[in-house]
Amino acid sequence: MKSMRQTCGVLLGALAATLIANIPLKAHDKIDVVASFSILGDVARNVGGERAIITTLVGANSDVHVYTPAPSDAKKIADAKLVLVNGLGLEGWLERLVQSSGSKAPIVVASNGIAARRLGSHADPHAWQSVANAKIYVANIRDALMAADPPAATAYRANADAYLAKLDALGAEVRAAIASIPEARRKVISSHNAFGYFADAYGIAFIAPQGVSTESEASARDIAAIITQIRSAKIPAVFLENVSDPRLMRRISAETGARIGGTLYSDSLTGENGDAPTYIDMVRHNIKALTGALAD
């Protein structure tokens, strides 16, 4: 009996020892961070560097607006030390998910401190489309990581500084590209509502096509209205990806002489082999698509 108790004690002690040994080891190791969608995940990865493992809930090529969380997402959140969200109403589904996962991780809003545009009665969540805003994201993410993982604070600060320098270069690149477009041609028709911040920051007008709902099928009247609008305002390019049918786009282009712009990435990155695997690539791609379509 005594030996039994002894064995138990030894076992428990051993178990406790491994637990104690493990916990600080894990804390000194990497921390798990969950970011709500791919663009935020990429920015966070640049700040987190080697020290943080970033998982994204809404992966590349998926629409964060209409995402339906899976049980595995709740698990990711439950395991995380920190949850990064964009805020401004982008992730309506996230709050309940965090609650139901029982996670104690702090939720940090990356867009904190950004002056929000209005989009109808809501805030426009697509703040990352302006590089200046992305820098605010970086600062917020850096502070959050430093708070969640103090031992690695210097590493995060260094990573963030390096990334901020890259973003500065990117911002200058965008301005130079826009400057190369003649002023009269800096307008496109686009049904994207994601480029409000971009338009404000860089002075390209994104004119919404008249009376077109992107949700439903276009009527003949809608198409005629777009064609008339392009002709009368002499708009040089159209970016209308969410007109569901690419053939319809080509028709509009053929009838107006406006160029069809390429893809503009707004809400999500592409996979490794796509045009926009990272945030910086995405901005570069968009600006290339715009200058390509608007150049003389």
Partner: protein
């Protein structure tokens, strides 16, 4: 004023002219097929076949992207396979044609949905797959016109056995063995015209310009040639009026065309001179010798 409302949209915008051309081609091929479907009591077969075709077209899309010919080809293969297998089962076993067709189209549909989900993108495939009548590019217009031409030529060839089989299949079997090949050729034409309908009206309404004009024609003529002419005419009228309606109001073009056809149908049910309701209540004078 009337010119502005009815003709100006077509003179001003090329896409309207192309849409009209597409609608007319669609009517020429689809309406006669619809009449035969109706006479053979297969009106709902069109809908079932539409579901059967969709997965094939989806596979074509997955293999080669937004390629019209690949998608059309995939759809044709899937449609033919389902039609043939269903026909085979119903002719060799005790299962009736409707049940075996239902079985095979559901099989095909489930297979298609599975294949699409393996690829697993967020894109709404239905939107990518099938266009609308306002988006007639050269390729689409060509495909529709070629399909309509093929339909009319093949129909001319199999006309006699097809008509006889509609009225007296037993008689046809005693005098000729053309019944089965004609039936198969006819099913092939159904598939071809459904694919046409997909391109122009989308999946849900593809059958609309086939069946509704046929049903309209039934109320105005007892003669099969008369029915064909009325069906084609009412399909063309629906196409034109639907486009104008879509231009003047904000109704999407596909539904607008079918709604006009539906109005014509309701009118025919009430006032058609063959078994129309009003006609039954106030029958004309009996012919007397």
């Amino acid at each position: 004023m009337i010119y502005d409302a009815l003709i100006a949209p077509f003179t001003e915008f090329e896409f309207m002219r192309r849409a009209l051309a597409g609608a007319i081609a669609l009517a020429l091929g689809g309406a006669p097929i619809g009449v035969f479907l109706m006479l053979r009591r297969m009106s709902l077969v069109g809908d079932a076949m539409a579901h059967a075709i969709l997965p094939g077209a989806a596979v074509g899309f997955l293999l080669s992207g937004l390629n019209l010919f690949a998608m059309t080809f995939g759809g044709l293969i899937a449609g033919f396979a389902v039609a043939l297998l269903a026909g085979l089962v119903s002719r060799t076993t005790e299962l009736k044609e409707d049940a075996s067709l239902a079985a095979f189209y559901l099989m095909s549909l489930a297979l298609g949905v599975t294949i699409v989900s393996i690829k697993g993108t967020n894109i709404d495939l239905l939107h990518v797959l099938f266009g609308n009548i306002l988006a007639m590019d050269d390729q689409t217009l060509l495909v529709i016109a070629v399909n309509a031409t093929i339909t009319l030529i093949v129909l001319a060839v199999i006309w006699r056995p097809l008509v006889i089989e509609c009225v007296d299949p037993v008689f046809l079997r005693t005098v000729s063995r053309a019944g089965a090949p004609a039936h198969l050729a006819f099913l092939a034409l159904v598939v071809i015209n459904l694919v046409n309908g997909f391109h122009a009206l989308g999946t849900l309404l593809a059958v609309g310009l086939m069946i509704l004009p046929a049903a309209i024609a039934k109320f105005w003529s007892r003669d099969i040639t008369g029915m064909m002419c009325i069906a084609v005419a009412s399909a063309i009228v629906s196409g034109y009026a639907g486009l104008v309606l879509s231009f003047q109001t904000k109704v999407p073009s596909g539904p607008a065309i079918i709604l006009v056809a539906a109005l014509l149908y309701v009118f025919s049910v009430l006032f058609g001179n063959v078994s129309g309701l009003v006609r039954q209540i106030f029958p004309g004078r009996h012919l007397e010798a």
